[in-house]
């Protein structure tokens, strides 16, 4: 089975999931992103790397934040950007995903940024596009959200010198989370020696330990001596039902408060992919506190997405954004 993300020379062709990507490529993306951080601070916040290219944001599932960051990233690379919310228009008229994609290819799109509520949707599209078109997965069902995973790694790298000497805890709804899966694969691929997940059994997928994580159900034990706490968003529809009795009980047991954070190392950092449910999975004092790196995540997210787009469109993977 060929890895659909890499071309025959082992270079990145699509970004569909973190799983299956070698450490070298992950580091390459992160290093490239480093050179793009400065672009936003210039007077002219643009580099011409994707000039004349058309990036198409194809969102089959609603999203404002992720779509916006991809738009900004593409625009800073001087690409032409089209954003489509397909869930409301064509799909309801019975048009298939491939019909939509084929139409956009006919309009000479060069790159698709895809979000879909079904796991595997980005793989599916990548399998059907011609070889000069690149696909970036911006979230597929519960499966993967690779740019989020990468921007989290970028953020951790900024605050923690040595990834090979870290203890990281991921807290919350791992079962439904594509972010958690991407984070787990990114952390384990980059050599983080201890990755933990903390959640009630109802929010953990079957055999989650096979992904290379240690499983905890108790915050005190799970957060003990960790360097990084990665919170997950609890989707509204999971809050009351058979998964969890109530948001109050969830907050009491798994919500990140200053008190629970004190079990971690004193210099531990706190991440969250946003949007946050304050008072559900995270307390405001932590979200806005000194250990929170949640806003820097957003800033770095743009640099990371610029890096991915530049590497895909540039083809060589040798892009140096700062010098462009």
């Amino acid at each position: 089975m060929n890895n659909p993300q890499l071309d025959t020379d082992g270079r990145l062709r699509h970004l569909l999931s973190i799983e299956g990507l070698p450490k070298k490529i992950l580091n390459q993306i992160l290093d490239t992103a480093e050179s793009f951080v400065g672009v936003a601070e210039r007077e002219v916040k643009k580099v011409p790397l994707l000039r004349g290219k058309t990036v198409c944001n194809l969102f089959f599932e609603n999203s404002t934040r992720t779509r916006t960051t991809f738009e900004i990233a593409a625009k800073r690379l001087s690409a032409d950007v089209i954003s489509l919310n397909v869930n409301t228009s064509s799909q309801s008229k019975g048009e298939t995903i491939l019909d939509t994609v084929d139409n956009l290819i006919a309009m000479h799109a060069d790159m698709f940024v895809v979000r879909h509520n079904q796991s595997g949707a980005a793989h599916f599209i990548a399998k059907h596009v011609p070889s000069h078109i690149h696909v970036i997965n911006a979230g597929d069902g519960r499966h993967s959200h690779p740019t989020q995973g990468l921007l989290d790694m970028f953020t951790i790298r900024k605050y923690k010198a040595d990834l090979h000497n870290l203890r990281v805890a991921i807290v919350g709804d791992v079962l439904h989370s594509r972010v958690a899966r991407s984070e787990i694969h990114a952390l384990t691929t980059l050599g983080v020696p201890e990755v933990r997940v903390i959640a009630p059994k109802t929010l953990l997928p079957a055999q989650v330990d096979k992904l290379g994580v240690h499983v905890f159900h108790d915050m005190k034990a799970g957060l003990k001596d960790v360097d990084v706490v990665m919170m997950l968003r609890l989707q509204n529809e999971r809050m009351n039902g058979a998964m969890l009795p109530s948001t109050q009980e969830y907050f009491k047991t798994y919500g990140l408060t200053q008190e629970k954070l004190s079990y971690a190392k004193p210099d531990a950092i706190v991440l969250h992919p946003g949007p946050m449910n304050r008072g559900v999975e995270i307390d405001s004092t932590v979200a806005d506190g000194a250990q929170s790196v949640i806003l820097p995540q957003v800033t770095y997210g743009i640099a990371v997405r610029m890096a991915v787009m530049a590497m895909l469109a540039g083809g060589s993977g040798q892009v140096q954004g700062g010098q462009a």
Binding site: T96, Q118, S119, G120, H123, F124, R178, A206, K210
Partner: protein, 424 residues
Amino acid sequence: MKIHIKNGRVIDPKNNIDSQLDVFIVAGKIVALGQAPAGFVANQTIDASNLIVCPGLVDLSARLREPGSEYKATLESELQAAVAGGVTSLACQPDTHPVLDEPGLVEMLKHRAKQLNLAHVYPLGALTRQLQGKILSEMGALREAGCVGFSQANIAITDTQVLWRAMEYAATFGFTLFLHAEEPFLAKDGVAHDGEIASRLGLKGIPSAAEALALASILRIAHETGARVHVSRLSTAEGVAMIREAKQHNPNISCDVSANQLHLTEHDIGYFDSNCHLKPPLRTQRDKDALSSGLKDGTIDAICSDHTPVDEDAKLAPFAEAEVGASGLELLLALTLKWAKQEKVSLLNAISLISQTSANILGIPAGDLSLNNYADICIFDANEYWKISPNTLKSQGKNTPFTGLELAGKVKATLVHGQIVYQS
């Protein structure tokens, strides 16, 4: 019409025959094995040198898509596929549109199939009206119309009281129920085995417990009511153990496994291969091994094709949205032979699993080469390899996880009622 099949290796499990014999057919019936009857002059001779001559295969579960889904497949395309796969009799599931819950529909289907003069079609009637699991269908009338048993296809009866009554009623008249064991609440929205692969791929899982729970109800109620129950398409190690235990005290239980489950596991889903979106889901290596052992020790009685042709568009979607099923009629023989070779099972025993035992379960006159039987015969080359591809399949459903694989076991000719209906 007199046909002479000469020099073939005849394998007939029922009569425990495995030797080089000639077969003589007169007026559609087998009149002699070995020596030609006096005065026999063949109109047609089939040279079966280096080939195997066995009973036409009997498939316990196929979908023909008629009535209602002719864009996926037609009776003609699928019965062509059947005979190309050596299958001369098959049971078809009632989940058509409309559902096979009325005698008129069954008669129409039987009539259309008969006119085509290919494989024999034995419909399984809907056990409940519209397969809704609420009101029993008119089993007696359906039986008269030609149903050989009653099935819920993939739709479970959630109300155990209805299941109980259905079994009681069927037991009254000695009808066989064909039930797929999957507890629908646990399996809700699930598309893959609830294990490592589903967790990695972010697919909603169907736990093994869904089969065990449903099976526990089915076996218990079968025991209480004395109904004759055939469990279709077993998928878990636990399920095999439960059937093994049930069979020790209940002779009215039988079961089958799909050829897909004998060769594939959850790992074959790979990068979301929608051809591996099957019902039941592909499970673990441990389950696959247990199914194989169950088949060898007789816990599992037969192998079915679970033939489910799906149109290309319906498979062109992200995994969970892609329609369930795989084309299988033409692969049943080759996949069975492959399994037998791997597990060192004799050809005689392997062929029995797709002919004689299936025919017994359906209660139909097929699956053996006894004298005076209608000559439903499959002639194949056990050593010829063929590549599975959309071009090599007659079925309108080109959807199979085995695409690209080369398999041994090529059907050379198929006879139904003594007529050659397929030849390659």
